[in-house]
Point group: C2
Amino acid sequence: MGDTRTRRPRADAQRNRDSILAAADEAFREQGTGASLEGIARRAGVAIGTLYGHFPNRRALSAGLLRERHTALFELGDELPGRNRPLDALAEWMGAVAVHAAAYRGLAALLMESLDDEASELHQACAQMAAVTGALLAAARAAGTVRADVTGADVHALMNAAAWMREQVPAEQAEHLLDMLVDGLRPGRDSGS
Amino acid sequence: MGDTRTRRPRADAQRNRDSILAAADEAFREQGTGASLEGIARRAGVAIGTLYGHFPNRRALSAGLLRERHTALFELGDELPGRNRPLDALAEWMGAVAVHAAAYRGLAALLMESLDDEASELHQACAQMAAVTGALLAAARAAGTVRADVTGADVHALMNAAAWMREQVPAEQAEHLLDMLVDGLRPGRDSGS
DNA sequence: ACCTGAACACCGTTCAAGT
DNA sequence: ACCTGAACACCGTTCAAGT
């Protein structure tokens, strides 16, 4: 017994970590995932070395920033299948991920490349995202409401492309575009030209 | 008579311009549109000030790089309507633009933001792209093979999103994804859930 | 155990001086 | 008319020295 597996951090370290995350959130929101790390350290009131001590690289910082956001997303993913018809559940999931991945400019690309990169600090989250996507897709396929040739990787790409478009067009248009993407998943009448 | 409207440049200036463009093409291909300008100047064997003398900013350099590529694209755009059924022509156009906009990482985003930004050196080309897109879309709509609520701006966004995906997934999957995007443009049987 | 900030290598951009 | 490169302000990343 006694202390748990992860030691409790020193109080000042915890405070610094929180300041860095708060500053990074602001900076990423304003300038995207490529925002200056020195600027973030300055905003947080810590030395640049302190930032690197907590987050050894940019992706680790992004992962720290997205932790809570991701658990909220996965909770939604757990509830969706019960509440809707399969294709609607999948469509809602795609919308939620698209909104999520549009939180910071550049995030969609990060999530895209981290799915296949096990070294990425975001890989865990992407794998879990892929699991939810796969389950919802399988249900929709079983119901015959999606094309048989759509893979989970396809849906992953489409969700993140929707997020990318969200970074570039008004929200209303982005919703419309997502609707059309989802429509493209339905089985067509003639698969020819 | 005598000299034409645009003066012929000094021979060394022309040579430098060409070297810069060749070096930029290599660098953009390898590292995307955010590649180091100093690195490009170095590769081209000119001083950094020479690069700025020819291209006052990154977008101007991109525009110089895309000039020929764009005219080839527009020639295709002119030929397409005569050769295919309207939706096929639109689909082929979207594919050609997607391949074009995936030439350099970051280019799709540049083309996206330059459509509405008249100050951008790429605006001209984007406007012309939009004109072709609009014509092909109008023909497909007249034939009743696309949804009535699809705008030219929507197609512009989808083409560039296809290019963005092309930067992240294998070419074969990218083709498949574009097919599905195009399928989403077709009129659906029920517009409800 | 954690924090600091100097040190290094790099980059974007401008502009006085040259030819 | 064009080219050069120093100058300035900035950034990513590491690491010896501190507490």
